[in-house]
Symmetry: C2
Subunit: 462 residues, 2 copies
């Protein structure tokens, strides 16, 4: 492999006074009369390299002086340690070769661009400091999650994305079809003939891989999914995207308490993983994106996550010396203001467990009080709900009863019921929204700025 | 975490004569008059554990004798090393507790089931030896690929799955829509009004992440995608699925030769990774699925991959002492019989490079002969094409000319052209079909048997 900027920063001592060869892009360029400075980035490391050239340069000093920002170049030169300067080294160029020119109208100039402008230039924004940092951390976070589960011998399950069932009953689905919409086939009675569609029935994009993960947990004990999921919600908010990635571990012979143990350990592991491997990026976020970010994360690392029931949480809210806009309610969901108060009052991340059954999904395990289910939401400072999970209803008759009450059709989920007929187990799992976790880690406030090419209502460019 | 079968096999020496606790499913059960044997699997390890119980068992010997295959149980007992027997140890049970019964009609009995039968029971097939092995290797392969690229500091890119362009011009796309098909909105002139669709235009599922990966390579130098892709091909073959995972690395400042170096290193790395971590599973495949599998893979590991041009390959075929069903053609594609002959004649894996431009995609770099493009296909013994890649056309005018010739609309790919306007670089990449790689690694011949819940024409159950 070629030498990279990362190699230089990782092996500075041994490379001093050595000849190095770099390929990259010009982030900045200050050409003086008799010399010049180029900030070169190859994207392998957060920091750029300062390249210094003088009139002695080959092939052509004056041509090099004209190299524009955004151009790709090849530099051969000597690495010189500069312990007294801001940067630990610079490269004194012997040759600078232009590989790919950047036209004069190159939109990414060394100045502050608005996030909105950069979203419209999503194909160029990875070349900025902010997005270099965001997308490298995104990549590290991806590997952190796989490594956490693989080290524990969890089996990764590629849950299907095209599906014929609507697990959450959310209803906001993207339909997937190969029918010719200009010429829809019809049955005798005039309905659309889905027998002629690709899958011979109506299909949509999946909103979760959980139900399929449960299948695998009933064979491998510990499994996880990590893949894209879809929501056709027409909400233009900073936290909603139509296509996003989810992590969904599922564990057999596992109750709600063990489920929370794994979730807590995972959150701490991935924070630690990223802090260790992207210190420059994380310092950048702390300085320019969210002041106090590192302190926030450090606090999460050091604090045991609290656990309280939904009832205790609402009691606490009702007793709070605060007037909330939404009244806390023992039968209702928590509002954002409630979540904020709770994490503050509890001094850190908190699992709220045992939720009223009527506001939770059909597959959550009914508690002995017959009123609540063994669900858990993890609330964290500065982001509200980060994880949602539950122990699953493993008792066939109780599950059927819940499905009837919540109008979930049994015939679609015959295989899900089979899991309760053949060797059912107490089992649990949770879902972590990958992109929201990345927002939490970086302090970036809009989900459009942590997804390479976000899909939102009326937006599907690139 | 709970004790698992994997823990036992990994720490046998220290666990001898110790009390162990296991949770799992009954794979087999032989109840005798005064004692019984249960094969217990918890899916964490390929091998089962033999549990022996006697009349002294608590809570109830006769109840335990009736436990059916497929049931979930909890066993507490003593681990006894049995160095003279087939299995290295057994567990003498003190208590066996039934957790979840399996109804009498449990479909997975300890006998040979046909693959077709098991596909119809895709929710239960992970509980069989074959699929335990396949899906654990699938999971390991997933991590092998991430680890290979992450160790080299490649940045993972989550390329979008919903898209408005058809990168390959393949045309066999799944449409994604939230329009009500029973009540399609129309424009004044009667056409479907896609302005009212979710993305305000016609959208489909992506067939590749390559073009978006190129965007990221132009910022990070080395990147890779690893995610699902879709093809709405109505072909019912053992190697086609409608939803499958692809790995697409993309590297800036990288020519075709370096591209092949990375591909070869990756293939060898992931084979080695899986052989080391799943020896039991791989031995099982070698014995029961594809005789000679281990030898095949070992040969790939040890052999430098050959490289020949398409022209040389066709010359070789024309000179071969074999009569092919399809005549080899300097302007045409290679048939399966040609691929088979070539890997045999070359003594192992072979990259075929420099293909006729008319049969390859618009983005492949035109060679100086103006007739061929810098493409490469990797052919391997026993599978034909495993990888396809190319150096990409980095020259704006040449690319535009190729797009015109191949009727690829410029206006849809304005951002792709921008990459050639602003700091273009020689760059290359390739695509590896994940599921086909898994078939190659396991010897399993039908793609439906390496995907947890395969999607194929008229099949979208589970």
């Amino acid at each position: 492999m070629k030498q990279t900027v990362r190699d230089l920063y990782s092996n500075l001592e041994s490379l001093g006074q050595q000849t190095v060869t770099l390929h990259g892009w010009v982030r900045n360029h200050r050409a003086q009369k008799a010399f010049g400075f180029i900030d070169l980035s190859d994207g392998t490391f957060f920091e750029t390299v300062q390249v210094v050239y003088e009139e002695s340069l080959t092939p052509d000093f004056s041509a090099v002086q004209k190299i524009r920002i955004g151009s790709s170049i090849k530099v051969v030169g000597t690495l010189v340690l500069t312990p007294d300067m801001k940067q630990p080294f610079e490269v004194k160029a012997d040759t600078v070769e232009l590989i790919g020119d950047a036209l004069e109208d190159y939109p990414i100039q060394p100045k502050r661009h608005s996030r909105e402008f950069l979203r419209e230039h999503a194909h160029l924004r990875p070349r900025t400091n902010l997005f270099t940092a965001v997308f490298r951390v995104r990549s590290l976070l991806t590997h952190a999650i796989h490594t956490f589960f693989q080290d524990k011998h969890f089996v990764h399950v590629a849950s299907p994305l095209i599906t014929t069932n609507d697990a959450e009953g959310a209803g906001q689905l993207f339909q997937v079809t190969t029918l010719d919409l200009d010429n829809l086939p019809r049955t005798k009675d005039g309905a659309i003939d889905y027998g002629k569609d690709f899958f011979a029935r109506k299909a949509n994009l999946s909103v979760t891989g959980q139900l399929q993960a449960e299948i695998f947990a009933q064979a491998f004990t510990n499994v996880y999914t990590f893949g894209p999921t879809f929501r056709a919600e027409k909400s233009n908010t900073p936290t909603h995207a139509s296509e996003f990635w989810m992590i969904e571990p599922e564990m057999a012979f596992c109750d709600l308490a063990m489920n929370m143990d794994v979730a807590e350990e995972m959150v701490k592991y991935i924070i630690q993983y990223v802090l260790e491997r992207a210190p420059k990026e994380m310092a950048f976020f702390d300085k320019f994106v969210q002041k106090g970010l590192l302190e926030k994360l450090d606090h999460v690392l050091k604090t045991p996550f609290a656990r309280i029931t939904h009832q205790e949480a609402v009691d606490k809210l009702l007793a709070a010396p605060v007037s909330f806009e939404h009244a806390p309610n023992h039968r209702g969901d928590l509002a954002t203001e409630h979540e904020k108060y709770l994490v503050k009052a509890m001094g850190g991340p908190v699992f709220v467990i045992d939720w009223p059954k009527d506001i939770k999904a059909f597959y959550m395990r009914l508690n002995d009080d017959l009123e609540t289910v063994a669900a858990m939401d993890l609330l964290v400072p500065g982001a509200g709900e980060l994880i949602g999970g539950s122990q699953r209803e493993e008792r066939l008759e109780v599950l059927k009863e819940r499905m009837r009450a919540m109008h979930v059709p049994e015939e679609e989920l015959w295989w899900y019921l089979d899991l309760r007929k053949y060797g059912t187990t107490p089992h649990s799992g949770y879902g972590l929204g990958f992109d929201r976790m990345l927002m939490y880690l970086t302090g970036v406030e809009n989900i459009r700025d942590v997804i390479p090419f976000p899909r939102t209502p009326r937006q599907c460019e690139f």
